[in-house]
Assembly symmetry: C2
Homo-oligomer: 429 residues x 2
């Protein structure tokens, strides 16, 4: 039996453009934890997850408890994570700042479990000599399609976080419909994406609807999604639906609660999607209890915790006639390949997956960044995730983490540097 | 990558006592298919499933299509089974005789998938050097508790199927409450079972309620279940519930439809269990749609197909607040160990599992029959299922299959040998 001999957790910081969302604006760096799990047989499994202090400190606290466990023993991993949670329960709420989408404290333990579960899966797949998708049960796709993830954005970060000579990111300022179309043309040109998603909830909803309709004109054959991160009232979401509903592949988290989503579905019949109001089993049951007003669930193995749980989610969706898509957060190549292998082996994944990968310019993997062909990432026959760490890149990005000064993501605080009066409100519009 | 090099499917017949149920009486032999899957690396995975012609012929038709597949490739296995089903769809309904519980044609392809999926899991666990429970995700139990499965029974089969000198099985005739208690005492004495299940639906319901109450008197601390296989009307089930409801751990399939189960739950509030009306994902959704009147699901990896599907079922049960138990059919030691490893690694299994194993006296495994201690079967540290085939026993029981003349289970036809006027009716009472 392979047993866990050592676990290394390295926080890194990746440069991130000033992307706008409902909470504010992305900070100059996004934090990720890189997890290496080494077995007593010398195999190393890789995982990548959130790098904010809350996740990182929990990963570091649990890791020593895992030494000596069998690499297949998810029961013991569950127990170790729950034991950690029990000890820390009191401290969690105070520790976590709800400063960005995806930092809800209830997900904290799920994130820790998933970080280790996915690393162990990679390790076991490598030990078996199998690509991860094959180890997970076989490929349904050889290439996994992704969608272009379009953000409004500032041209530059506040201050000069990368030094006075820095020229800013290559994507430029995106603050209106014309710029959104230009961005989509750039991104589709470079990556070949066959579908488009607009991150909304930033500007007046009518302006965002204008942008979506402009995309529809410029890309009449591309499926379109819009995602205001729950930043619209029901009335606003209804008004936007009247303008753009017929152009949408799905309407993602327009309103902040499941009850509002149910009412919106009742009144529009539109396909609603979420990664915010159906994020765990109890929320899944609540959605079913309301007659499944939300009919597309965005999985995310980083917090719907792990590869096994994602397969169980896919089975749940099949049982209740729901569709499955995939969410992303800012990430490097290990998460991208984990998403790709998982998507390739998950039955019923009905849509191109989200990815932030084009927004990142740095990575920790050897051999350069993961290539996209026609908007898709291919599975190779290499074992596990099919990628390995570049130790120099890891060290450099860890140094960047140590220097960057960010320890918990807070898009609201960053926005206040640009607009001192900015406050977080949901729904804002 | 390990690939499938060869698959051997051997039908066997095991002597089976004349156990009574809603459909009639068990025939002198029960049929099982023993599946050996050999990989190009020389590992052999074992599985056991139904041996009736419908299952056997399908297994034999699909097996050649699986040569060369990766041993983890459940996606390709799914495709091969579905391709077989597509070709044979028209012939299925005519081929299957609904002569016994568990022979519904809709389960035919699921049984084929499960036979191979479980054999591949054993193979992969052996290749990884892990006990199957560990390979499936880790043990939640070291010993898996089973319940005594009490049947009414004749003292002897009709005719002399085992030859004129045969003295009959050691359990004797069980046709009334006193004999049921005596049987329970014998079986608990030999196996140490800590809970009791009475197979009912055979005699007048009041007599069966008498038997259950007699068990309750004789074993006041043993949880009790009664299972008439849907052979009671709603009125009958309500009347029996008045007499025995408070003594039941759960009330298993008293009535034949989900609608009747819903009404029964509504009027009694009793914990209802099933392996008949919630047997697949669509029936699971129907039960949820009715507000989960059935709150305990009996899994069975032979037809809720396979180990992965059982884990997904457990996740479904967790999501909707249902409990999980485990069904059995007449079986040998390979199925018993598959059930044991699966149960040990399945979160939320809340009850002692069913098993028919004490009713069988013959087996195909090396080293003698699987031991029970205090009503439980232990997991060992041996790889995979922890048991191997005895080639001589396999050959002998295959010879018995060739001679026995039974090719499809039909408890009704067998009963007509004892009682020529017997007809199948459901609900009978």
């Amino acid at each position: 039996m392979n047993r866990i001999a050592d676990i290394r957790i390295t926080p890194i910081a990746l440069k991130d453009p000033p992307l706008l969302n409902a909470s504010g604006v992305h900070e100059p760096y996004t934090l990720r934890s890189i997890i290496e799990i080494e077995s007593d047989s010398g195999h190393v499994g890789l995982a990548e997850t959130y790098g904010d202090d809350d996740t990182l400190l929990r990963l570091q606290a649990v890791a020593p408890q895992l030494r000596g466990l069998g690499t297949h023993d998810l029961a013991a991993l569950t127990d170790a994570v729950l034991a950690h949670g029990k000890g820390r329960q009191a401290g969690v709420a105070a520790h976590v700042v709800d400063g960005a989408p995806g930092t809800h404290p209830a997900r904290a333990l799920d994130k820790v479990f998933a970080g280790f579960e996915t690393g162990l899966a990679d390790l076991n797949a490598r030990a078996a000599g199998l690509p991860l998708a094959d180890w997970l049960g076989g490929r349904r796709m050889q290439q996994v399609p992704y969608s272009a993830y379009l953000f409004y954005k500032f041209g530059r970060h506040h201050g000069t976080p990368y030094g006075p000579e820095d020229a800013g990111d290559p994507w430029g300022e995106v603050l209106d419909a014309a710029a959104v179309v230009r961005l989509a043309q750039d991104m589709v040109g470079q990556y070949g994406f066959g579908s488009l998603k607009l991150k909304a909830g930033v500007f007046a909803p009518d302006l965002e609807a204008d942008a979506l309709l402009a995309l529809h004109d410029a890309f009449p054959k591309h499926p379109l999604r819009i995602d205001p991160n729950g930043n619209w009232s029901l009335d606003t979401a209804l008004k936007v639906a009247e303008r753009v509903g017929s152009a949408l592949e799905y309407y993602e988290d327009p309103v902040p609660t499941l009850a509002d989503m149910a009412e919106l579905n009742h009144r529009t019949g539109l396909m609603l999607a979420t990664n915010m109001v159906v994020c765990d089993r109890s929320e899944f049951a609540a959605n079913v209890g309301l007659g499944t007003p939300v009919r597309t669930i965005l999985s995310d193995h980083h917090f719907w915790p792990g590869f096994r749980a994602t397969r169980e989610l896919a089975a749940h969706c099949d049982t209740f006639g729901l569709k499955l898509s995939m969410h992303s957060n800012s990430h490097a190549g290990i998460s991208l390949m984990a998403m790709t292998h998982l998507a390739a082996s998950t039955p019923g994944l009905a849509y191109a997956c989200d990815t932030h990968y084009p927004w990142q310019s740095e990575d920790v993997i050897a051999g350069g960044r993961v290539p996209f062909v026609d908007g898709a990432v291919a599975i190779t026959d290499a074992p596990g995730l099919g990628v390995t760490l570049d130790p120099e890149a890891l060290a450099r990005l860890h140094e960047q983490y140590l220097r960057c000064g960010i320890r918990s993501r807070n898009d609201t605080r960053e926005m206040q540097k640009h607009q001192p009066g900015f406050v977080k409100r949901k729904p804002r519009f």
